[in-house]
Structure formats: C-alpha cells, structure tokens
C-alpha cells in the first residue's frame, strides 16, 4: 500500500480552505505528501518539530498571535504531546486543531503500530478530547473546517483521526 497522492492533496486543500495559515508537524509516512505540499506553499508557515510536544507550544504561540494553526501528527506523537495538551492547552483554554494519523488499527500490517492504535480512542476519551474519523475524501474538507470551528468555539483540543481508508491508495 502507498500513501494516497490524491487524498493528501484533498486534505491539504481542505486545510487551506479552512483558512489555516500555519502548520506544525512531525514528518510521518502518511503525512509526508501533505507536508511536501505545505513546504512548497509560500502562504503556509510550516514548523517541523523534533518532538510533538513542542508543537503544542508553537500552536499556543500561533493562537496568541492570532494566526490560524493546525497540528499534524501521528497518534504516537499525540501520546508524546499529552502533558502539553493537558497542562498548557486545556489548563489555559487554548484551542488545538489536531489532525492525527490513526496508525495501528484495522488493516495495520506493522506490529509496532498496533498497541498505540488500540489505545488511541480511549486516551482521547480519557482526556475529554472530542474526535471524529476522516474516512472519505468527499467529506474530509468539511470535517477539517468543522474541527477548526469547534476548537475555536470550545477553546479546547479537537482531534480528527485520519484513517487508513483515507490515507492509503
């Protein structure tokens, strides 16, 4: 299986259409084509971080600065960012719009992704982070816009899980 070129473009276009001007990310196989687009787009500020928790700080800085910002990460990176999500974003009511590559679930061939995939939903629930699944290219742009709107109105982290159906071709 390879990463869907078409759907990566649809997601990036959806991010742009939602009015997002700034992205933070840690490169990940499923997110690679998306990040390439961000890198090539002069109107998109891209921060590639060394570890995902940094991105929570960067996103908070962008929020305080008034620049619409979205975070891209793998679910394992989301785990690595949890203290920042809880003790910066939730504690201070800073919204986060997170697009999370949902690895290690239905159809996952790689053993190393599986444990993280199995616990992702429960961790999101435990943290009271609202989440949705993005499965189809027809709906994903609307879902990104809605995730963004909801993060801003609730002043809360919000997660859109990018599934295998969407990311692989």
């Amino acid at each position: 299986m390879t990463v869907s070129y078409e759907n990566s473009k649809v997601i990036f276009d959806g991010i742009k259409a939602a009015g997002i001007k700034s992205l933070s990310a840690l490169p990940e196989t499923w997110l690679g084509l998306l990040l390439q687009r961000a890198e090539d787009d002069p109107d998109m500020e891209l921060f590639q971080v060394a570890k995902e928790e940094e991105a929570i700080g960067i996103a908070a800085g962008a929020y305080f600065a008034g620049t619409p910002h979205v975070l891209l990460m793998q679910n394992h990176g989301f785990f690595a960012a949890i203290n920042g999500i809880v003790s910066l974003a939730q504690l201070y009511h800073v919204p986060l719009c997170m697009l999370i590559a949902y690895r290690g679930h239905w159809g996952e061939p790689y053993p190393w992704h599986t444990r993280g995939g199995i616990v992702t939903e429960e961790v999101l629930r435990a943290l009271a982070i609202p989440f949705e699944y993005a499965r189809s290219p027809e709906r994903v742009a609307k879902q990104i816009r809605e995730a963004w709107v909801f993060s801003q109105s609730s002043l809360s982290p919000v997660a859109l899980l990018l599934t295998r159906d969407l990311m692989e071709a």
Binding site: S22, E45, F47, Q48, V49, A50, K51, E53, E54, A55, I56, G57, I58, A59, A60, G61, A62, Y63, F64, A65, G66, T67, H69, N83, G84, V86, S87, L88, L91, Y92, H93, V94
Partner: protein, 195 residues
C-alpha cells in the same frame, strides 16, 4: 548573581515586549515587579515556554519576544534548541536561568548542578549562532543589551544562585492570563494596522 536581580534589570525593557516565563520562582519574580498584560506565565507544561515563544515570534514579526526559561524546564525540551536553530526567529530572545536546581519543586539538583553539562554548548551545538554564557550581573546586562540590539535569535544562559521568592501567589487565574495576553497582542496588531 540572582535571577531576581537579572529580571529586575530587564523589567523596564519588557514593557513593550511579548514575554513568556516558565513556572514557579521565575514567574513569581517577574509578577512581583508588577504584572503587565503582555506577560504570560506558563505555570506548568515544563519545557514549552520557548516553543510558545517560537510560535509567537514567527507570527508576530513586528514584535520582540522574550522568553524567560530555566535549566529544569529546558532540559525537558532540549529539542527546542534544534527547532529554534532551524526556524531562527530573528525577533526572539531566549534567556535560560541556570541555577542547577529544580528549585520550585523542592530544590533537588538538576543535571547541570555538577557543572558537567553546559546548556550554552548544547544551544551552540544545536546551531544557534548567538549564545552568551554569563555569570555576573554586568555580563548579563551587556548580553541582554546586545540581544536587544541584534536583529537575530539570541540565547543567554545565565548562571544564577538557587534562590527564589519567599512567597508564591498571583491574583490572576491561568485562563484569565491567557485571555488577557491574547487580547493585548490583538490590540497591538490593531494599533499597528491603523497606524
């Protein structure tokens, strides 16, 4: 050299700067000099003050961002130096007060206490060009003035004594601090656009 003295020296210059501090003693010492709407105190999430600073600095090119960090906090997010080096926000000053201690959580020695670990060398090795390592108040003042005059990312690692304020407490709820800080920035941007 004490951190409180360094912060007091910086204080007049911070009136118009976007300021982010770490938790505990550092936040309290700044607050005790007089809170301003442009000060954000990160009372938890150790390590992320400089990441917030990066997000602010890149998106607010007309402002100057000053981050007041500490050894215990920055050791929790050493990756911040490589990300700062990569994006090199020219309008950011990153001050790391190195007291060799996790003072606000009981005064345990941090990994820098023995002198084996050199935070300034880590910053330089990460690729940050302008890194000053200082241990006297005069040196600190000079390094801060240099950083203010420089149109580039500056890191100042200041060796300070492991002492803090006698009392802790702020008349400021954490979300209230965030809301007011964001509002101050928005109003500055509005004023800048209408100027």
């Amino acid at each position: 050299m004490e951190r409180a003295g360094c912060i007091e020296m910086m204080y007049p210059e911070l009136e118009e700067k976007v300021v982010v501090t770490i938790m505990g003693a550092c936040a309290q010492e700044l607050y005790n000099l007089g809170h301003r709407e442009n000060f954000f105190y990160l009372q938890h999430a150790m390590g992320l003050a400089s990441s917030i600073g990066l997000g602010l600095a890149v998106h607010l090119p007309a402002e100057r961002v000053v981050v007041l960090d500490g050894d215990g906090s920055v050791l929790m997010n050493l990756g911040t130096f490589v990300t700062l080096a990569r994006y090199r926000p020219t309008n950011m000053i990153h001050v790391v007060f190195d007291n060799g201690s996790l003072l606000s959580t009981g005064g345990f020695d941090s990994q820098t206490a023995s002198g084996t670990t050199d935070i300034a060398a880590i910053a330089r090795g990460a690729g940050i060009e302008h890194v000053a390592a200082v241990s006297t108040t005069t040196e600190f003042g000079e390094a801060f003035v240099d950083a203010l005059e420089r149109d580039d990312l500056s890191v100042i690692v200041a060796k300070v004594a492991a002492v803090g304020p006698e009392h802790y407490g702020m008349d400021l709820h954490l979300p209230e601090n965030a809301f007011r800080f964001k509002r101050w920035i928005a109003e500055r941007k509005r004023a800048e656009h209408t100027a």
